[in-house]
Structures are given as C-alpha cells and as structure tokens.
Symmetry: C2
Subunit: 248 residues, 2 copies
DNA sequence: CGACTAGTTGAACGACGTCAACCGTTGTGG
DNA sequence: CCACAACGGTTGACGTCGTTCAACTAGTCG
C-alpha cells in the first residue's frame, strides 16, 4: 500500500528541508517526495522494531509519538529519546546491521517505512542528500547528549521540567502544540522510564510542578502555564536542538 | 607541523578499516593515509574543544584518553563518553556548525587535527568513505545509548563494573590493555563525573569491587582480577560495541 | 619541612524507591 | 443497568542509596 503524499507535506521533504544547511534543488526535492512509503499503524505500547533486529528498511514518524528505549536484563526500562512526526528514529539501521535499541509507540502511531535499497539509490543519485540525512542523525545525537546531562546531573524536579520544555518546543515546530499546550497521552509510569525515576516519584514531582503553577498534565494533555518559570526550572537552553529559526 | 605516519599505523586507516563494512581500495587507503594531520599535545585536564565552538577541523585521538562532557549551569559535570586512540570524538563538527559539548584530555593526550576542507575533498573523491565515517559516528551513538541505560537504570556498583568492562575491551582492541590490565590515570572525582555519582561514593564502590576481588584501581592502573565476575556484575554484553571480530 | 592533592572513612542528612492502601474512571459482561 | 475488574493516579509510611560535610591519611612536589 504505497501512499503518495503531496510534496510539501511529505515528511521527508519537510524534515530534510528543515535540517539541511543548503536549499534543496528541484530534483532532490522530487527524489525525496517520490520515495515509496509503506504506511503502517501501531497502537500505544506496541513495538515497531526490537533490539537485535536486522531491518532492511527504516521509517519516519508520520503522526503520533514514538520512543526509543533499552532494557536491562532484569527488565528495567530506560527511554532514550522521543520522536515526533518527521523524525527518523532508526535511520542508523542503514549503516548498522543489528539494532542496539527498541522503538515503541507512545500514543497511536502512524509511520512510513522506506527500504534501504530505495534510500541508497537516492543517495547515489543525489549525493548532497547524504549530508542532509547525516546531519539529521547528528542532531538526534545532540538531543541524546543533552538527555544524558539532564538525567545524569539534574534532580528530578528540574529534570522533568527540562523534558517538558524540550517536548513542547519540538511539538510546536511540527505544529502539534500551540499556546504552550499539546496532546501528550503518556502514563506516569512511562514518564518515569524516560526520567529514570519511579512512577510514584513522578507523581510527586508532577504535583509540585502543578502546585507551583508551572504545568498541568491530565487527560492526556500537557499545558504549560508559566513557560518562563518552567524554562528556568529546567535550565532549558534550546541551542542543542540545532534549530535554524529560533523562537520563544 | 604536518606529520606523516606509515599507512598501516595511520590512525584514520586503522580506524576506518576496522569500522567499515567493505574492504578499502588502494586509493581509498591512500587518501586516508595522506590526510594532512596537525599534531598537538595536551596535558591531563586541558580542554581540546569547548561547547559553543565553531571548529573548522576535527581530530583523531593519537594517544592517551579523552572525554566528552557537558556541564549544567551550576557547574555539575557529566562525562558522556571516553575516547581511545583511533577515535574521532568531534567528527560531528563537520556537519554541525556549533558544538554542543566539550572535550578534554583525561590523561596526557596527543591528537591529530584534520581540516574540514581536506575531509570534504576526500569524501568528494571517494564517496564510499562517507559511509565508513558515518558508520563510525553511528557506533559512537550506540555506545552513548548503552551509557544512558547504564547511568539511568543501574545502581552504582553494576554501573561502575559496566564502565570498567567497556573501557577494558576498547583498550584491548587498540592494543593498550593486556592481561586485563591497562593504564588508567583517572581520579575518583572524574570517575564520579562519568558515572553521575559523587567522588566519595566512587571511593566506596571501588572498595567493594576491590574487596570482592574483582578489580583494583591504583597507581593509575586498572587491573581486572576476575573478568567473569566483573562482566556479570555489570551485565556487560559487548554487542553494542558493534565489533566485527568478537573476543573474550 | 610544609603545602597541596587524592584517597579514605564516619556520621548525618536528603532524595528517591518500595510497599501498600485508596480513589476515580473506564470498560466489559451478566 | 449494574457489578466488578482493571488500570492509572494519589498519598502516606518507611527503607535505602547516595550525598554532604568533615576529619584524617598518604603521597608528591617545591
């Protein structure tokens, strides 16, 4: 079921255009827009790919939220990154035969698979696109470094504040948040997996943030009531997102 | 002060050869070996590059140990990765204008700088090398994901055991460890920055590991006395290192 | 010899985890 | 339509891991 979308809304075109350091040529844009996408839907909690898989395709998030995670042998889970529409969460599979992480759906998720062959053919025809995609993976790396600093060296209150700041900014960029409010159907248990703390403690920190008037998270919706305060609490500096047009 | 080394010991050749999925051609090896290197030496604790720099070159570790780190605003430091000889710690600077991390020398460090221009020219002439270098950065990403799991979800005892396992394996690969013993002139304070714990606690965990007969760390030397036990304690599975020839 | 640095250890404290109870909502089947 | 199970959120009590502070030791360098 190949699904062709109009070029300007095609996820690859939007993403690469926003990431690359040069303006895409017509043929390059065309090549991206005509990449054959295999669309698939996942319910929350379902896994898309698993550690030790050897995929021959990678995928883009079309809608919904995905999470990269790893688990220890005794089953403790650590979420390493969230992926918003436009992201290419397992792009490394193109050059790394066996996956070292799993990716699951956080909310209802629609993704588009692209075969490695098709990508390699495109790169052969349009070598500049390699730089652009490479850059996309490097930006993901930058996010993960900030995540490491956040989880390693900030206590849970600023840590959670930082996470909410990042999510809000990234969702705003792709048009999924407005007025500092976004759809975020995530359980407190899952939040704990991302922050490296227990769900009980998540609950307490959420309460603190709520009673401080910074945010509310309920009914699957995150609302930031005091952006300046949240940003300050999380020591949030968006430089590491490598945005090209800075706002807020 | 350009410094030309014999091709088989040239750090780029060794590294890319060990990382790439295809055998390098003569001209490719030649191009790597003749990359002009600007050699520089750093004392322990000195910074090589700093967050917010906009470098026009990147570097390879020639000898010694380097560390990538970030700091919070109030000065708490988190080490994100260690780099052994052959590694390309800031290769992302080629496609990411402004650095989002700093790199410092852990022990006496010798590095070789290569200008971005020279690299780009080489990639233009030998497009397959792009894949190889890309793959090198992806493997670094894999290490950082395991690091995130380790620091996020393991307690300090297994966490430290895991770190020592990784360092030992990586140093063995580049010939800097033998008999499960290696030069590791690192203070307990710095170890704490890597593991996200205080130096006092590092001391106590080291004592536990020592009294359990697993390792000793003194006089700038790490000795593993019971590799099987250390590996078990750290739940260490080297898959994430993406080695091509597995040993031990 | 004194000053400095890294390591070592104890004691008190704090952050976060664990356990357990309870509540509210949702969904399902009799 | 109601009963009830299942699940996520909320809260308290208590335990543990790791931090902080502080004192002391040992090695090194001038």
């Amino acid at each position: 079921m190949a699904d062709l979308l109009p070029a300007d809304t095609h996820p690859f075109v939007r993403k690469i255009e926003s990431v690359s350091l040069f303006a895409l040529s017509g043929p390059e844009r065309e090549a991206l827009a005509t990449l054959p996408l295999q669309v698939a839907d996942y319910a929350a909690q379902q896994d898309v790919v698993l550690e030790h898989d050897r995929p021959n395709r990678c995928f883009a998030v079309l809608s919904g939220l995905a999470a990269t995670y790893k688990t220890t042998r005794d089953g403790r889970r650590q979420v390493l990154a969230y992926h918003v529409p436009g992201d290419l969460p397992d792009f490394q599979s193109l050059n790394l035969e066996v996956l070292d992480f799993s990716i699951c759906a956080v909310s209802a998720l629609r993704i588009g698979f692209v075969g490695h062959d098709a990508l390699r053919a495109m790169f052969h025809a349009h070598p500049r696109l390699v730089d652009a995609f490479w850059r996309a993976t490097l930006i993901e790396g930058s996010l993960s470094r900030e995540w490491m600093l956040n989880n390693g060296r900030r206590e849970s209150y600023p840590r959670m504040a930082h996470l909410f700041c990042e999510l809000m900014v990234r969702l705003e960029i792709v048009g999924l948040a407005s007025d500092h409010s976004c759809h975020l159907p995530i359980t407190q248990y899952e939040l704990g997996d991302a922050l490296g703390i227990s769900s009980v403690h998540v609950n307490r920190i959420l309460k603190e943030l709520r009673e401080g008037g910074l945010i509310t998270l309920s009914g699957g919706r995150l609302k930031v009531h005091d952006w300046a305060a949240l940003r300050k609490a999380g020591e949030f500096d968006p430089t590491y997102l490598h945005l090209r047009s800075t706002d807020s």
